[in-house]
């Protein structure tokens, strides 16, 4: 972000600020773990799946799992959305790398047999703890993992149904980490943090998730307890084989991804009919767009604007649920409010209700006299950067840190926590001694008209992921619905990536202001104008730069006294400015952003 100087005109952009070009790579910037998306998509295009996988593994630890289940904050951020197209299918490309990879063992980090003498306890074997283990092990830490279930994976195993995430995919990625030398203490729930701390580990990492599903205290709730199930607990029972069928009519309450998993699982476990009933409007449901689509494609109706009123029962048996009818009204602040619609209450018949209305943090096993402070929502008081709690030995990450998020956030937290644990064990400062972010710029120019990336813009629409035949998936919980991209589809989809990490780098003292770049730019990104304050400048460009979230790249003063201003918003990174530049004032340079990880210490 260029800064404003005293007289109001814009300062030249500092492209060596790691954040400047990072922000241009919208997908990577939006990803909590900052996975270098365009780089691995190029590797997929080159059929170098193993390398693409390892680049992912390094950054987000669970590429195979995430390639199927990620919340994909990268995709709505994709630049192609702003060029009025559909985003690149980033998530499914990640899966293609995982599906097609070869043996990754030669690329795994070396774990020293001689340990550094520090013992770390990780509580809960979910994605956060596993990722912390992976980061710490190559540095010689002795890592102990405590988990109440018999297998590792946490909610990736207990709550994500097998038709979305096959068990073998999860097992492979969990075991890869466990095989690095984790001391596993599975099947033993930690019911006292105090007792654990008596074992005198050097540091503790709590990655126990947000394990408490919310319930609804409505009229009739207590009378029909046996027919009402908490969504995440129910999914977990299904995952571990304790529940294998659900009979009759099912109502799923809630509008998040758990609700979508509950309804689709019910359908596969023999429910006669399944309905999702949501308190709020369709467009504000928490579930991802594609998960809603998946449920609807399987014929599950989603009924919106229906807050529940009462559980209706007869002779101790659930008959159905009574819902109020409301209409959403948009207030002046842009938020939706719900008013009674005037229709009579709606009774929906059912035999079972699955509650998927949210989950909370819950750590009753952490005694409150250990110096670990909790806030009123039962979340630990943490430093947002270091993830250290008020007890300096105890760190949190994943959902147990700031409430329910997702796997990719768990990976991101894990990297931060691992750095903190390492610094803590070394007696160094947790903030000042963190490895810095950095950026490297590498020219992609190979010859007069040759670039080390495929610059051409592919106008193709997003490729759809092939699905398994409807019948066979609905009859079997374990049949994965999505077949994933094969190598050919992956290659085609990879071509749609705009290579936003190949940056347009401008060298002002080479420019002769011939306008060639202005004339050729297909998106009207480039202007040569008088410098002005940012708000004014944005209006005077070749195409007004109205998306204030995207930066302007401003050069130093040129010979005519003007400046080059490039609006980063809709640049296609096609390299035509550099192709048409007679003096190489424009160059296409690959930016490699260094996101701090424990490996960044290079020790």
């Amino acid at each position: 972000m260029a800064l404003l100087v005293a007289h109001g005109t814009m300062e030249p952009t500092n492209i060596f600020d790691p954040n400047y070009f990072h922000k241009v790579v919208d997908c990577q910037y939006a990803c909590p773990a900052h996975t270098p998306v365009p780089e691995y998509i190029r590797l997929i295009a080159q059929e170098r799946y193993t390398q693409a996988y390892m680049l992912n593994w390094d950054s987000n630890v669970f590429p195979g799992v995430l390639g199927r289940t990620c919340d994909r904050p990268c995709e709505p951020a994709c630049r192609r959305v702003r060029t009025e197209e559909t985003p690149v299918a980033i998530c499914r490309l990640k899966r293609a790398a995982a599906d097609n990879k070869g043996d990754v063992t030669p690329y795994l980090p070396h774990v020293p047999t001689e340990k550094n003498g520090k013992r770390i306890a990780l509580i809960g074997a979910g994605p956060a703890s596993l990722a912390v283990a992976r980061d710490l092990l190559p540095f010689g830490y002795e890592v102990h993992l405590f988990e109440q279930d018999e297998k590792g994976g946490g909610f990736m195993r207990s709550q994500i149904p097998a038709f979305r995430l096959p068990e073998e995919v999860l097992d492979e990625e969990v075991e890869r980490i466990l095989d690095m030398g984790v001391h596993c203490h599975f099947g033993q729930a930690i019911d006292s943090m105090k007792a654990l701390m008596a074992q005198d580990f050097d540091a503790y990492f709590v990655g126990t998730g947000a394990p408490r599903g919310r319930d609804l205290e409505l009229t009739g709730r207590d009378q029909v307890d046996e027919y009402i199930h908490i969504g995440i607990d129910w999914l977990s029972s299904v995952a571990f084989g304790h529940v294998s069928e659900i009979k009759g009519k099912v109502i799923v309450m809630g509008g998040g991804n758990t609700a979508m998993d509950c309804c689709r699982t019910s359908l596969r476990l023999g429910a006669e009919s399944v309905k999702v009933v949501v308190r709020s409007a369709f467009e504000v449901m928490k579930a991802s767009e594609w998960e809603k689509e998946d449920a609807m494609r399987e014929g599950i109706p989603i009924i919106n604007n229906r807050p529940p009123k009462e559980f209706v029962h007869e002779n101790g048996k659930l008959k159905g649920v009574l819902f109020e009818c409301v209409t959403p009204v948009r207030g002046d602040d842009g938020r939706l409010r719900y008013e009674p619609s005037g229709e009579p209450d709606e009774f929906i018949e059912c035999d079972h209700v699955l509650m998927a209305i949210g989950q909370d943090n819950h750590c009753p096993w952490i005694e409150r006299d250990l110096g670990i402070n909790f806030d009123k929502w039962d979340c630990p008081e943490l430093d947002e950067i270091t993830l250290q709690s008020t007890n300096p030995k105890v760190f949190f990450g994943g959902d147990s840190a700031f409430g329910p998020e997702n796997i990719i956030w768990a990976s991101a937290h894990a990297h931060r926590a691992a750095i903190s644990i390492h610094l803590y064990c070394q007696g160094r400062d947790l903030k000042n001694d963190r490895p810095p972010e950095g950026v490297n710029l590498l020219s992609t120019k190979m010859g007069v008209h040759e670039w080390a990336y495929d610059a051409a813009h592919d106008p193709a629409q997003r490729h759809l992921v092939p699905l398994v035949e409807h019948e066979s998936s609905l009859n079997n919980l374990k049949v994965e619905v999505e077949l994933g991209f094969d190598a050919q589809l992956a290659a085609q989809e990879a071509q749609r990536c705009l290579n936003c990490d190949v940056q347009t780098v401008f060298t002002d003292n080479l420019c002769i202001e011939c306008d060639a770049c202005v004339d050729i730019c297909p998106m009207d990104c480039i202007s040569f104008v008088e410098n002005q304050p940012e708000a004014k400048l944005r209006q005077t460009l070749t195409a007004p730069a109205l998306n204030a979230e995207q930066d302007l790249y401003v050069s130093d003063g040129l010979k005519t006294g003007r400046v080059m201003v490039k609006d980063e918003d809709v640049c296609l990174h096609c390299g035509l400015c550099a192709e048409r530049c007679p003096t190489n004032a424009w160059d296409m340079q690959r930016s490699v952003v260094h996101i701090p990880q424990l490996g960044s210490f290079g020790e």
Binding site: R82, T83, E84, E85, H449, A455, A456, H457, P459, I512, E513, C514, D515, A516, V518, D519, I520, P522, M523, D524, A543, P544, L546, K559, T560, V570, L572, C574, G575, L576, E579, R580, C581, P582, T583
Partner: protein
């Protein structure tokens, strides 16, 4: 030369004109000229002018001769009629096209070699005939296609890339056009679209012979220190006499120009050509005055640019020839060839 194809996708907020087209719809194929060539900016200026005027591309005839400049009609107005003719013979071909179909908008693009050397005679006569067209010269003072010899418009004393000065007097096409009867004469610079685009728009709306000499630097052979046709020289030495702007509806009052230096001319289609006189004493309707001004500027080492002369009421070729208002190509065979009886009657008239 560019090997990356220009993507068809465009800025989501790109303006759509009265015909429902964007500026991108007026482009041609991607230029094969050297990177940084001034001619590409001129093509881009033509594209912008036509798009802003909402002119229908299929009503254009674009004709050129031979040379770097003459390749450029491929790079604008993809969906129009075109003819890449013989060296220096663009005027003949465009005259034919315009005579056959007077409703076509004619753009002739030529260069300093094509117009001031091999085609000088054709240039002189098409101006004399006042063909209703835009005659645009991409003037870089050098023979770029044959590796940079001085052209006939290169100034005396201006040096080659290796520092050798030119020994001959230049041909000034602007002075010639003024002298020979062009009714719209302007000079501009490829590196100044703020001046060039309005001039092209005004020229396209002008009825009669409109001539624009565009100094368009050759980055490969004539953009060095010592050249008088380089980006730097032009930026330092161009003097604008009159800035033109084409306005639809009521002229807008801008504070930038002092009262008395602004004049309005109503164009044949009702649009208004606004003239901002940079020098308050300059008279853009005075042909002799314009000639003197251009020569005087040149003597002083400056390059006179802007709209130098305009005669909004001038006659054009079809007026002189008193041709029918219906384009000749639309006349039926009966009307075009009334038969031997009519011929006999005409012949009788001469006896």
């Amino acid at each position: 030369m560019t090997f990356v194809t220009k993507p068809r996708v465009h800025h989501p907020k790109l303006p759509i004109n009265d015909l429902g087209l964007t500026r991108r719809d007026y482009e041609g194929s991607v230029s094969t000229l050297c990177a940084g060539c001034g001619h590409d900016s001129v093509s881009a200026a033509i594209v912008q002018a036509c798009a802003e005027l909402s002119l229908p591309p299929h009503r254009f005839a674009k004709v050129s001769g031979i040379g770097c400049s003459s390749k450029t009609p491929s790079y604008f107005l993809n969906r129009s009629h075109g003819f890449n003719s013989v060296h220096g013979r663009m005027p003949s071909v465009i005259t034919g096209a315009n005579l056959a179909n007077r409703d076509l908008m004619c753009i002739g693009v030529s260069g300093d070699g094509d117009s001031a050397s091999i085609g000088l005679g054709q240039f002189a006569h098409v101006v004399r005939r006042r063909t209703n067209m835009l005659y645009l010269v991409d003037n870089n003072g050098t023979y770029g296609l044959t590796k940079g010899q001085f052209s006939a418009t290169n100034d005396k004393g201006s040096t080659s890339k290796k520092g050798v000065p030119n020994l001959y007097e230049p041909i000034d096409l602007v002075s010639m056009a003024l002298q020979l009867g062009a009714s719209f004469v302007a000079r501009s610079f490829s590196g100044d679209k703020r001046q060039l685009v309005p001039l092209i728009k005004a020229a396209l709306k002008h009825k009669g012979m409109a001539f624009i000499d565009v100094i368009s630097p050759c980055v490969a052979f004539n953009n060095h220190a010592g050249s008088t046709k380089s980006f730097e020289f032009m930026r330092e030495h161009m003097q604008s006499a009159v800035q033109a702007d084409l306005i639809f509806g009521q002229p807008e009052i801008t504070a930038d120009y002092a009262q008395g230096t602004r004049e309005s001319v109503t164009m044949p289609d009702g649009s208004i050509l606004q003239l901002y006189k940079v020098d308050a004493d300059y008279d853009p309707y005075d042909r002799i005055g314009a000639l003197t001004y251009v020569q005087k500027m040149h003597e002083e080492g400056h390059v006179a640019t802007g709209l130098l002369y305009v005669d909004p009421d001038a006659v054009e070729c079809h007026d002189i020839l008193e041709t029918t208002a219906i384009p000749l190509n639309e006349l039926s065979e009966d009307a075009l060839c009334p038969g031997s009886e009519a011929l006999t009657a005409i012949n009788q008239g001469y006896r």
